[in-house]
């Protein structure tokens, strides 16, 4: 049996390797490497554009008003896929809440008779709790910075949200969130749904033209600043709906991942004490 699996793995990887050998040669990208440099500063320009990537490099900054080409691809050109990815996270959070529901409702958490100190080995240390609280604020501010500047500099909703959720993990291991677990989960769940509803609401807001259309870009007063082509200092009020989508995803990822952390933390606490 072990021999068969080894042979199968070798065959599959040989298969993939043969495929890689037939790719176009390394060092010669499919598109045009100098696509970014020879370009008029305004308007859509498709000269020399032969594949999708070239179009993004050449027109992404001007068309969406976002300095971060990755953000313009993720939230504008392929915004529908991002909606799907955000939905995947939402589904994972819902599944974990559903599957661990019996753990969370079990007696050892809810019953008032059992002292809480026996459920969680609580460390009563002022240094740890106060230090964790200070770090919490700093990590949260860094995460918010990443989310808000998603369309200007590297970062964005997913990254900033994950950074913020790591702050929740810090609070958990320094035993801040041990009481009122059901209420915490309800609040987190509410804000997670709210973030996603903002995302899809922005999509529906543009449905006069098309779903997820960037209706705020190109010269409106809200987030519609037309930015100059090439290197520039970066403008927060540009890129249309991109900052809003980034913010929505940031809210969703922060509260969703926090919900997963809180749920798994309490479920593992129950299991250890059974």
């Amino acid at each position: 049996m072990r021999l068969i699996s080894v042979v199968a793995i070798v065959v599959i990887f040989g298969f993939i390797f043969v495929g890689i050998l037939h790719l176009h040669p390394i060092g010669e990208p499919v598109g045009n490497p100098r696509i970014l440099y020879e370009r008029p500063p305004l308007g859509i320009d498709t000269q020399g554009v032969t594949i999708m990537d070239d179009y993004f490099l050449r027109n992404g900054q001007v068309e969406t008003g976002s300095n971060n080409i990755v953000a313009s691809i993720v939230f504008d050109y392929r915004g529908f896929d991002t909606l799907g990815e955000a939905t995947v996270l939402f589904i994972v959070v819902s599944s974990i809440s559903m599957l661990f529901f019996t753990f969370l409702k079990s007696k050892s958490i809810v019953s008032a008779g059992v002292p809480r100190a026996r459920q969680f080995p609580r460390i009563e240390s002022r240094i740890i709790t106060f230090g964790a609280f200070l770090m919490y604020i700093m990590i949260l501010s860094f995460g918010i910075y990443l989310v808000v500047h998603g369309h200007v500099s590297p970062g964005g909703g997913f990254q900033g949200g994950s950074v913020m959720a790591s702050a929740t993990a810090l609070l958990l291991i320094s035993f801040y969130i041990t009481r009122h677990m059901q209420r915490t989960r309800k609040i987190f769940s509410f804000f997670e749904s709210l973030g996603l509803t903002i995302f899809i609401g922005m999509g529906f807001a543009g449905i006069g033209i098309s779903f997820l259309y960037n209706f705020l870009a190109h010269g409106t007063t809200v987030f519609g600043k037309i930015i100059p082509f090439g290197p520039n200092p970066g403008y927060l009020i540009s890129a249309g709906i991109l900052p809003w989508l980034s913010l929505a995803v940031g809210i969703e990822v922060f509260f969703g991942l926090s919900l997963i952390l809180v749920t798994l933390f309490h479920a593992s606490g129950v299991k250890n004490n059974l």
């Binding site: 790719l23 050109y77 997670e192 899809i200 098309s210 779903f211």
Partner: protein, 507 residues
């Protein structure tokens, strides 16, 4: 407004799913009704498209986020830069099937699953599953297809392990999750090959630029095998029995429906890319091989089962074989150059696609009745069950209809599609028809076993509880559709199946 219908089919279930946790905190009845209304809306939208797509032969394109969503290419380019959605005759056939059946299964589950706080999450995941199916059906973009395939797999694997208080469902859900993540990773690798070579995800554009190198063939194999794994064809069917038998009854039906949607992806990719890379004959032979293996192994495994839901799960494997056989014969002769496609290949494809619809109907109904049986007897063991028909004549009748339909007994819908497959495949190779008829006989035998043990015999010790109204209603509607299609198959073949086959064959 009708030009936005492709994206609304996905966006409406998604926005409702996102708001359901908030609504569920407020009132649970409103939550149940809202989710139902969302599914009804997309069902009505899909029926509205029949006039345009099926009769007037119009194809709906939608570029998400584009200034002009119906224009295929922006700024005079020759390739799309945004995500393309497309509804043609072939996808509309599956959209109608998926929306209608998920609405009926939702009616069943709204009263079958007991009401508590976990049902909030159940409803959310159910609606997400519907959204995942819709996204796969309308996507004309490989990566969007992959994303919604993930949505479908993750939500269904969570729902499979819904009954966490028992021992086995979490294992079944974990197994399903594991298998589908392996499948989707290989699918992603196939997409990566195509993207690295051609720089696009768009299916129509890839079809245009593919030139039949070794890389294309490897990428096509990597796209097709994972989808075959998700359909449960025989060398990759090990997850089917556990998943279908441990899930709650409406979820078994929904997972079955999801595997048929993966079959849609399989056919779509095989027909779109296969004929352009000159591998359509080989792919057709592969489909026929898969089909015959699935039919035979599935039914022989089903004969020896004592567990009613495992038995039905193995029949699901064997039924997929019929569809692969019918469509595979069509695929293998489509580029042969002689008249064989016009003589029997197209008819075989009509039989295969018709069997997809019929199978979704009666297999869903069978899983629903198995839920009622299991709830009454508190076990899935056929040796323990006896005599339910003494008290519950309704379930007995409904089960009888579904079992006769799956065995291919004349006045019901299974007979029609099986007969079309037998007759057309006979021109290709008589041996295949013989195997198919033999499998059908064995199917009848094993379902007679189920009917005899579960419904006939001594009356049971306690009376069964009366089923709620929506549970009965959904089963009645499914039975009526089965009988109606069986009595008047011409109408649905003319209206839905034949345009779909034409669209598939001319890709």
């Amino acid at each position: 407004m009708i030009k936005h219908v492709p994206v609304l089919l996905v966006a409406i279930p998604l926005v409702v799913a996102f708001m359901l946790p908030i609504i569920g905190m407020v009132n649970r009845t409103i939550r149940t009704i809202t989710a139902g209304v969302a599914i009804v809306i997309i069902m009505v939208l899909s029926y509205l498209l029949i006039q345009d797509v099926m009769i007037c032969k119009k194809i709906f394109y939608y570029m998400v986020g584009s200034p002009d969503p119906t224009a295929l290419f922006e700024h005079g380019l020759t390739f799309p830069i945004r995500i393309a959605l497309k509804i043609d005759q072939f996808s509309l056939l599956f959209i109608i099937m998926a929306t209608t059946l998920s609405f009926l299964f939702y009616l069943f589950s709204s009263q079958y699953i007991e009401e508590n706080e976990r049902k909030n999450y159940f409803t959310v995941l159910y609606v997400c599953m519907v959204a995942g199916m819709m996204g796969m059906l309308i996507a004309n973009d490989l990566f969007t297809f992959f994303v919604f395939l993930e949505i479908l797999s993750i939500s269904s694997s969570a729902l499979v392990s819904f009954r966490t208080e028992r021992k086995h469902p979490p294992y079944a859900g974990y197994k399903y999750m594991f298998v589908s993540s392996i499948a989707t990773s290989f699918f992603l690798l196939g997409i990566a090959f195509l993207y690295a070579q051609y720089g696009s995800f768009n299916i129509d554009y890839l079809k245009k630029v593919m030139d039949g190198t070794v890389l294309d063939k490897i990428a096509i194999v990597m796209l097709i095998l994972p989808l075959a794994m998700k359909c449960g064809v025989v060398p990759m069917h090990m997850w089917i029995p556990d998943t279908y038998s441990e899930a709650p009854a409406p979820i078994s039906s929904m997972v079955k429906l999801g595997s048929l949607i993966c079959l849609y992806g399989l056919f779509r990719i095989a027909f779109t890319f296969g004929s352009h890379v000159y591998v359509s004959y080989e792919l057709g032979i592969l489909f026929i091989l898969f089909g015959v293996l699935s039919m035979f192994v599935g039914v022989t495994q089903a004969l020896i089962q004592k567990d009613v839901k495992r038995l039905m799960a193995f029949h699901a494997v064997s039924q997929v074989g019929y569809m692969l056989l019918g469509v595979g014969v069509g695929l293998s002769v489509i580029k042969s150059g002689d008249a064989s496609f016009a003589i029997y290949g197209k008819i075989a494809m009509i039989g295969g696609l018709f069997h997809v619809i019929n199978n979704a109907l009666y297999k869903g109904l069978l899983f629903l009745t198995s839920g009622i049986m299991v709830r009454h007897y508190k076990t899935r063991d056929l040796n323990v069950m006896h005599g339910l028909a003494h008290y519950d004549k309704f379930t007995a009748l409904v089960f009888m209809i579904a079992a006769l339909a799956i065995s291919g007994i004349p006045p019901l819908n299974g007979f029609v599609s099986k007969l079309i497959i037998y007759e057309s495949v006979f021109h290709y190779n008589p041996l295949l028809t013989l195997i198919a008829i033999f499998v059908s006989v064995l199917t009848l035998a094993s379902f007679m076993k189920v009917f005899y043990s579960a419904f006939l015999g001594m009356p049971p010790e306690r009376k069964p509880v009366e089923q709620p109204i929506l549970v009965k209603f959904s089963m009645v509607i499914l039975s009526i559709i089965i009988v109606a299609i069986g009595l008047f198959p011409q109408g649905i073949i003319k209206l839905l199946i034949e345009p779909a086959v034409n669209a598939l064959a001319t890709f």
